[in-house]
Symmetry: C2
Subunit: 197 residues, 2 copies
């Protein structure tokens, strides 16, 4: 164990995400994280003040990344159908590229203390509100047909959430191909461009 | 703390599910579970030999319940579209009625030891295969239109998985109403009865 090796914030978050995803926040100690990084617990505490601080940093980073990716994906795109498709593709790609972090985000809201919990829930709900706004706009503009926009928006958000669990099983499809399929599913869910028989 | 109170297997599973869902399997001790049941750890061990045994019992019970509910839902139903709709409604209702157990099933496969792990994964994959068979049949019969039946089947399975997270927030919709909406979403995803513009 090297005690004085410099450790990047990204490395700490990555290793901690993987341990939290594999054995839970409560089931993981700072000593476990330090061990996986090859440093002493004392050295780790020089980088992060607490395990709670680290959990918040992981989730906050994931939320900020998701918001920024959505921003980039929708920049310069006007049509609401294209926006919803691109938003879904972007979200599913993020899910597939960061499986451990997404598992932590999905399962460890329970372990956040205040005010961390309210901050993360606020960012998560803010993301959901942006998707909901797309669904509402599509309905208002006559492109989408859904009975309960709130439920449809949640369904779109959750759609690809677990794709990471099966995606690598066979490797027949690229992440981009999977993301594109989910983009189509999202449009199906909101009844975009379809006429019922 | 009463040491000799009889404790039902259902009560043990229910209380343990809630604790595992709230703080993770690894973060929960048999003493925590005994405390929540109001018995001593020694008394709890008279009912279940180990925490691992209990985790397996929770997941196995949930899997058997899901398979049995699917069986009942599809009995006597011939049309594949109706079957997929009913299968989805049944699954979402189960998700909404047993939120703690579903959280455990979703997050604690990682904590199962062999052979428990293989048994549960086998039952989970068996359930997925039944949904996949419905999607394949719908495609073969010309009712469904999907480019990758495997991906569509996973999307249908995951669709309502997290509905429990928002369902009770406002209480505007009953569980049955939510389940019916997801049943419709499933048909949308597989392109049932729709003609593209």
């Amino acid at each position: 164990v090297r005690t004085s090796r410099p450790v990047s914030a990204v490395a700490v978050r990555t290793v901690a995400s993987e341990l939290f995803a594999a054995q839970g926040y409560r089931g993981t100690s700072m000593k476990d994280i330090a061990g996986a990084l090859g440093v002493t617990a004392g050295n780790l505490y020089n980088h992060v003040p607490s395990k709670q601080h680290l959990l918040f940093a992981i989730m906050d980073n994931a939320m900020e990344r998701a918001h920024a990716a959505l921003e980039r994906a929708l920049a310069g795109v006007d049509a609401v159908s294209t926006q919803l498709r691109l938003a879904t593709e972007t979200l599913v790609l993020d899910f597939l590229e960061h499986p451990a972090e997404i598992t932590v985000c999905n399962t460890e809201i329970r372990s956040l203390e205040e005010p961390n919990r309210s901050i993360i829930i606020g960012k998560r709900d803010g993301y959901a509100a942006r998707i909901r706004a797309l669904v509402d706009r599509g309905c208002a503009e006559g492109h989408f047909f859904v009975s309960e926009p709130r439920v449809a928006a949640f369904a779109v958000l959750e759609l690809g959430n677990n794709a990471k669990a099966w995606f690598n099983e066979r490797g027949e499809l690229s992440a981009e191909e999977v993301a594109k399929m989910y983009g189509e599913f999202a449009l199906h869910i909101v009844g975009d461009g379809y006429v019922h028989n």
